[in-house]
């Protein structure tokens, strides 16, 4: 009964669960990454990655596609988010929901639908279709956080700036963009990392011609090259670490759609 009354201990089951299913698995990734198949310490998995032109090429290509995808998503998504958040230009709540909705549908399904459309239109699958398909998949993830932050933004800053004689262009670049930076950064997080790590999607969009880094991990894990697969996952974890450093952690703009 004493335990029941001290409510901070209620988190204990979940804490144990988290250690077992979140912390321990990550430790195991690190463990496997630095082991060979017989279980002794080695750096060979990373050496293999650096000496494997296929893996390095795929890695670089994934970064390229992810960068391009992110840039296109910002260029297309920012104006859209800006219009959606602007009450003078858009009063309809339906359009907002329509932009959010794809986030709730399995990316695989949307990708397949896109690939089928390309087939029917007779478009040759390749790098171009990959990029278009990726933008299809991830644009909502860019629009939503930017919209959220623009929506919550205090309009008086922009008004003050224009009262003080700033041109609309200056207001946009000097006030709006810096203030919406956390939204952009969280959009970048939601677009960049998933693009690098998707598997299956790039195969469907390119007829297996291009694979991304996630596919290499999946192939290695599936053919039981666990140690190498773990090493590749660790490389990805490091990138996640670096990108999340860029993000401003104090403001939470994502999540909480319902």
């Amino acid at each position: 009964m004493r335990i029941m009354t001290k409510r901070s201990t209620w988190a204990l089951p979940y804490a144990i669960f988290l250690v077992l299913f979140v912390a321990l698995p990550l430790v195991i990734i690190i463990l496997y990454a630095f082991q060979d198949t017989s279980g002794s310490f080695t750096l060979a998995n990373f050496a293999k990655f650096l000496n494997d032109p296929d893996a390095i090429g795929t890695f670089a290509l994934s970064l390229e596609v992810a960068i391009e995808n992110t840039i296109i998503c910002i260029l297309l998504g920012y104006p859209a988010a800006w219009i959606l958040a602007n009450k003078k230009l858009n009063r309809s709540a339906v359009t907002i929901v329509l932009f959010i909705m794809p986030m709730w549908i399995n990316a695989l399904m949307r990708t397949l639908a896109t690939a089928e459309l390309f087939h029917v239109m007779g478009i040759q699958l390749g790098k171009g279709t990959l990029l278009v398909g990726m933008v299809y998949d991830y644009l909502p993830f860019m629009i939503y956080p930017i919209y959220n932050i623009l929506n919550k933004m205090d309009k008086s800053y922009a008004e003050a700036a224009s009262d003080l004689g700033a041109t609309p262009w200056q207001v946009f670049w000097k006030v709006q963009v810096p203030l919406s930076m956390p939204g952009i950064m969280s959009g970048v997080m939601m677009v960049f990392m998933p693009t690098v790590s998707t598997f299956a999607i790039s195969e469907f969009l390119t007829n297996n011609k291009i694979k991304l880094f996630g596919t290499i991990i999946q192939e290695n894990i599936n053919s039981s090259m666990w140690n190498y697969g773990a090493a590749l996952s660790l490389v990805m974890l490091v990138i996640i670490g670096i990108t999340s450093l860029l993000q401003d952690n104090k403001k939470d703009v994502s999540g909480g759609i319902v």
Binding site: G57, G126, N207, N208, K209, S223
Partner: protein, 448 residues
């Protein structure tokens, strides 16, 4: 919360707890047969029938646990590294070779007591091919019983492609079919087939023999094949793992370097919607492959495994598996030949290599059982040069990173670093300026 929903949730929680407990304890292993096979590679009704048949033959109960894989290597490493106790598995030719070399499989005892031995139904052609497997002096026929076999060839749409053209692999490079060609994403099959074809003249003149070619991964040979693939890679619309047959029936592609089993499946499917597809093995040469049953070293129920293999070799079961999967069973003999015979549909060809001398002009599908003259120019693949061939394969599949890739990555990352440094120094300068001002102010105060 409504009472109904509460009950439902309770029930689900119980189910979950029960599932947890079930996973914890295991049943008596002696009465379980663990089968590990390719996905969609058997008539699954046969599994239940085997349990019954086994009871009839031996009086013992057995329950099959049936699991499937998509990649040979997945299966292999589960056994090699995980020491999993599968009783009977179905690897491909070169993996059988690898398992034999690394002592991972047990010899198959052929004494079944009162039960007839059906293992002899395996066609002599396949037995001969099994003998070619390089197993450190061990004969693969003692360790493996074939299951399915097939060839590597070209599935094509005669509406767009002249049947005359597919007698050579050169059709792949025809610019008229650019963007309409699919190639199976199977490096060993493509390499071996092309290597044999490219050495046609050497084989005919006796300078090289087919069997030694199937072991050949010398630099010149790999380079030769790579160059040949580079000659047609511009035409390739995709490297298919499994989607070739579907895209062929939808006429999205016209030509598909594929396996005979897939080709047969696609032709049947296409016929249903009134489309004609055909399959040919280029006359210059190609390769054959087969999968076979083996009993891994860590097997627990060897007896049931042997009976399972025996059961699969019964002609009627072989025919049912063929109907279900579209692949061709290795079982020869008159019963299968009779089933396959169809003089309305096919012209006579020489399949005596497979069914025995009486079949030198039998009316069977040339897709399933190619003419003897073609089969003569087909070799089997061996387990050689995996790393080297994989590297070649990823080079020719290409579409990997280009100079632009690295430039872009460099630009973005240096841009990021620059932004961070800029922000940092700006703050520093600002702080220094404040500090200076403060110092000045303090000095003024002091002097006053």
């Amino acid at each position: 919360m409504p009472e109904k929903l509460k009950n439902k949730m309770k029930r689900l929680l119980y189910m979950f707890a029960a599932a947890l407990m079930l996973a914890g304890c295991s049943q008596g292993r002696d009465n379980i047969l663990k089968v590990y096979n390719w996905a969609d590679y058997i008539d699954e009704e046969l599994l239940g029938e085997f349990e019954q048949w086994y009871k009839e033959q031996t009086g013992e109960d057995v329950t099959i646990i049936y699991q499937t894989f998509d990649i040979n290597e997945t299966m292999l490493s589960k056994i090699e590294l995980g020491h999993e106790d599968y009783d009977v598995v179905c690897p491909s030719d070169y993996i059988i070779e690898r398992m034999l070399k690394s002592d991972l499989i047990l010899p198959i005892e052929r004494d079944f007591g009162s039960t007839p031995n059906y293992l002899g139904n395996v066609s002599p052609y396949i037995q001969e091919k099994l003998e070619q497997i390089e197993g450190d002096g061990k004969n693969a026929n003692d360790y493996c019983v074939g299951y399915m076999w097939g060839t590597v060839g070209l599935l094509y749409n005669p509406k767009y492609i002249d049947p005359q053209e597919v007698c050579s692999w050169d059709v792949l490079a025809n610019p008229a079919y650019k963007g309409k060609v699919l190639v199976k994403d199977a490096f060993r099959d493509v390499y071996t087939s092309l290597l044999i074809a490219l050495n046609k003249d050497e084989i005919l003149s006796g300078r090289k023999d087919l069997e030694s070619l199937t072991f050949d991964v010398s630099d010149e040979s790999v380079e030769m094949v790579e160059e040949y693939i580079n000659g047609f890679r511009e035409s390739v619309a995709g490297w298919e793992a499994d989607f070739g047959k579907e895209q062929m029936t939808k006429e999205l592609a016209w030509l598909n370097l594929s396996w005979s089993g897939d080709a047969q499946w696609a032709m049947d499917e296409a016929a249903e919607i009134g489309l004609e597809l055909d399959y040919a093995i280029p006359e210059t040469g190609s390769s054959v492959w087969f999968d076979g049953w083996v009993i891994p070293k860590y097997a627990h129920n060897v007896k049931a495994a042997r009976y399972f293999i025996n059961f699969m070799c019964m002609p009627e079961n072989a025919i049912r598996n063929m109907d279900m999967t579209g692949y061709v069973s290795v079982i020869g003999g008159d019963e299968v030949l009779e089933e396959m015979y169809d003089s309305d549909e096919y012209g006579p060809i020489d399949v005596s290599y497979f069914f025995g001398p009486q079949a030198d002009s039998a009316c069977v599908s040339p897709v399933l059982y190619p003419d003897g003259a073609i089969i003569e120019r087909c070799g089997i693949m061996h387990d050689v040069g995996t790393e080297k061939l994989l590297r070649m394969w990823s080079r020719v599949k290409g579409d990997s990173a280009s100079a632009w890739t690295y430039i872009l990555i460099f630009l973005v990352f240096s841009g990021l670093i620059f932004a961070v440094i800029y922000k940092y120094t700006k703050n520093r300068i600002r702080q220094q300026r404040y500090a200076k001002k403060r110092r000045k102010r303090n000095q003024q105060k002091m002097s006053r």
